[in-house]
Subunit: 348 residues, 2 copies
DNA sequence: CTGAAAGCGCTTACAG
DNA sequence: CTGAAAGCGCTTACAG
């Protein structure tokens, strides 16, 4: 392949392309960048492009960013990246959106460490990011770290007191309503709810959804059917399951705070010879594939929209968040999809 | 707070700092960047730094990168980011290493899509990354995509035919040996192995480790104790478990290809009233927290070193990979840690 | 120890 | 339609 003279970086530059094409660097720039052929004749353009291809020219993004005095970077701050698949989904959504807008994502994982957070913010500001997505792996209220004040900001899976910053969060209430509704629609009337005892948007919202669904189906609310658990995992589900089995009359269906709780509940039920779904219908939450899709029987669940949270917040940032007259910030609720599997059947 | 004049980017520049400090921009640059105070008097340096702090000056990384004709970017290409926590761990490791070297990671997730891969590579080259980590979410042989030929490269959790490129992969064999050894050390002699039937480094390596451990413990190899499964998940484990229970004499211990297989096996054992660990000791692989730590009883497992794979490959890239006389590439085996939980006990 | 100046590889008014 | 030139915000020999 033909090779143009090299600069100290050892790479083909636009100057090389211009020289070899016999045009000025300005013309080369226009030919290479202008979508509309308005600045350059079609012939010149074709010629320059051919030369560029021949030399295997790649524009230097750093130089372009500097001269345009604006970059194509967007920052994404995450407080965890591997404890759940959730962060991964959020990143994937943000990244897809970034690509759609020809931007590149600068990702920083802080593991909730303040020093790491500060460093991450510094790094992003140094790189002139156009905006930052600040995210949390579980839905919660956060305080915006100082230093993020000087840059367009959006929150994903979290929000601030008073909603002073635009945010995108899961619609927990609607999700809880859908989960409970799934059970009620199958004809269940004694529907228990194993809920997390934490004070957080997820348990609060899902409980509200649970009550809404009951009301809509004309089923009275029985506080005795709501079983709190302090650990929202398999162990907590197992314990709550044993308490649940002592209830009389026994519920015929259970809405579990999450899939891990449901997994523990399965164990408790199995120990007592209670069969899912014939003796007990079960619905989970989170739709964690590795559990929900592989329990025996597979677990119906309501999913968390992390991909959408990432995608929508990035998109918002690049369309609204960057504009001069910022729209009034709102906390936007994103729907949680219901995924039906084999764990639900009408009562015997 | 005092404000210096602004440029079109609306940010404080080094020129602003120099002006206000009453020094040249060259002096400001040296004062701000030189670790050793060799180029500038201590007093000047202090003064410049004070002014910079006062103006809340942040260096423009883009400008710096351009003028140094080298960036602090390193690329990480991933073929999946949310299907397992593995990619997250690998990213975390690479990111920590990047931070230790004052570099920033440009992450691209391709979902194995060739177009996305090509785009990702292009983006990275455009940003003059100093090198690229190409990774796979499960250990396998890969073909290096064209376009990656012009940049220092290292492979994480994958390798090429002939090992022409430096790579870091899990030591599957040693892991299989450790898993089996754990069972043998507890006195088990009839140790079954539910292995993936795929032809891949993991099943091959783990099986080698299984046989090595048997030999080291003076236990004969019985091919009848190796149960293949075509789906290495809960369903596969359940099926294999039922086959295993028909073996006579019955094994007293099982090494499972992964934790999901073990989870399915638990179900099969439970159905047949076989108790773990009293009637059957079980060891898994992958150490997927969400499963292994929460099965009843909690599952002993061997972990995959994704964090280390990410950390070591990034470090290698920035220390060896970038140098002129590249060391001879090798496939470096990274140890898999054993995690003991309650699923193993000596035979009755 | 300090400063004037060239240069990194582009973009973009401004003339022609 | 095309080109000469200034400029983005830094770094870094080179003089003094």
């Amino acid at each position: 392949m033909a090779r143009a003279p090299r600069t100290r970086t050892g790479r083909v530059t636009m100057q090389d392309v211009a020289d070899r094409a016999g045009v000025s660097i300005a013309t080369a720039s226009f030919a290479i960048n202008d979508k509309e052929t308005t600045k350059v004749s079609a012939a010149t353009r074709r010629h320059v492009l051919a030369v560029a291809a021949e030399l295997d020219y790649r524009p230097n993004a750093t130089a372009r960013n500097l001269s345009k005095a604006t970059t194509s970077f967007v920052g994404l701050i995450t407080d965890s990246i591997a404890t759940t698949p959730f962060a991964g989904e959020l990143i994937r959504g943000a990244q897809d959106a970034a690509r759609e807008h020809d931007h590149v994502l600068l990702i920083a994982n802080t593991e909730s460490d303040p020093r790491a957070t500060e460093e991450a913010i510094g790094m992003m500001l140094d790189h002139q990011v156009r905006g930052v997505i600040y995210s949390a792996w579980y839905h919660r209220q956060v305080k915006i770290p100082g230093g993020l004040g000087s840059v367009p900001l959006v929150l994903a899976n979290c929000y601030t007191a008073g909603d002073r910053v635009q945010s995108f969060v899961p619609d927990e209430c609607e999700g809880g309503r859908a989960a409970t509704g799934l059970l009620l629609d199958h004809g269940h009337r004694r529907v228990a709810f194993i809920n997390s005892a934490e004070r957080a948007p997820a348990p609060t919202g899902r409980r509200r959804g649970y009550r809404t669904a009951l009301r809509e189906h004309g089923v009275g609310y029985d506080p005795g059917l709501v079983l709190p658990t302090y650990s929202s995992d398999q162990e907590g589900g197992y314990d709550a399951g044993r308490r649940l089995l002592r209830l009389r009359p026994r519920p015929t269906a259970v809405f579990c705070y999450n899939d891990r709780v449901a997994m523990g509940l399965y164990d408790a039920l199995r120990e007592h010879g209670v069969h899912v779904p014939d003796d007990m219908a079960v619905v989970g939450f989170d739709n964690q594939e590795i559990i929900a899709a592989h329990l025996r029987p597979a677990l119906s669940s309501v999913g968390l929209p992390h991909y959408e949270l990432g995608h929508r917040s990035l998109t918002w940032l690049l369309t609204k968040g960057i504009s001069q007259q910022l729209p009034k910030p709102t906390r936007t609720l994103v729907p949680c999809p219901t995924v039906e599997r084999q764990s639900v059947r009408p009562p015997a």
